[in-house]
Amino acid sequence: MSSTAAVPFWRAAGMTYISYSNICANLVRNCLKEPHKSEAISREKVHFSLSKWVDGKPEKPNCHVYKLSCF
């Protein structure tokens, strides 16, 4: 029996709460006035580097990627 609870539109479209919350937070950050906006964006940047492994050994890593966590 399927539950007939009303789901929010973003969950019906396949999004999880945490992606919804992160999207909202990013939209709010993009609407800030200048010094606060650049502080907020730099605070939320995620630094990571990615490398693919082939035959048990890592290939040269991609140059360090700085990504805004927006998904």
Binding site: S3, W10, A13, G14, Y20, S21, V28, L32, K37
Partner: protein, 202 residues
């Protein structure tokens, strides 16, 4: 089918244990140090202090007072900062998904999911306004309110031109969206920007 089974289980256990489960604020706090461990430690190393456990650093939860307190204690935290910590206020109005919810001292314990909107903290004649992007508000039986959000800014830090531009852009994206996911993202954009613009004007 599973819903009926759980309903039956719950009703059976409720009949066996008619006492309702206490809220976390009504339980006694766990003892900060295990007495048996401390005694054994003192026997082996009487000159050294026994190590502290995390529980001994935590302050015990204030118990539920028998009469309604005069002030509400608010803890407003963000992932990167603690905006208000233990502040005593008269009232807080939070943007719950079911509408603007006012929290006064003595409010019934509640867990409310917040939608993007304006949160106001009232202390005497002072009103502080914050725009909250989304989060939760937890009200406990002892008149403590914990409000947690991912992003919250005082409204004077919001740029109205960017809000108008964003609103126009997302309304346009909503009209041209094709997949469910794109429609949902565009709808979120429209919701957030319209909440921002009403927070700026209201």
């Amino acid at each position: 089918m599973f819903r009926q089974a759980t309903a039956r289980l719950l009703s059976r256990s409720a009949a066996a244990r008619p006492k309702a489960r206490p809220f976390s604020t009504d339980l006694e706090s766990a003892p900060a140090a295990d007495q048996a461990f401390v005694d054994a430690w003192k026997k082996v190393a009487p000159n050294m202090d026994p190590p502290k456990t995390p529980l001994s650093f935590m302050k015990p939860r204030p118990p539920t007072p028998s009469s309604i307190p005069s002030k509400l204690t608010v803890n407003f935290s963000l992932p990167y900062a603690s905006e208000l910590s233990g502040k005593e206020v008269d009232m807080v109005i939070v943007p719950a998904t079911t509408g603007q919810m006012g929290i006064l001292p003595g409010h019934v314990p509640t867990i409310a999911e917040l939608k993007p909107g304006l949160m106001t903290v009232h202390e005497g004649n002072d009103v502080q306004k914050y725009f909250v992007s989304s989060g939760f508000a937890l009200v406990h039986a002892n008149s403590y309110a914990d409000i947690i959000a991912v992003e919250a800014v005082p409204v004077n830090r919001i740029d109205p031109n960017l809000v108008q531009k964003g609103l126009a852009e997302f309304t346009q994206k909503l009209n041209s969206a094709s997949t469910d996911l794109e429609k949902a993202e565009a709808q979120i954009g429209v919701d957030v920007h319209s909440a921002l613009s009403s927070a700026l004007s209201g």
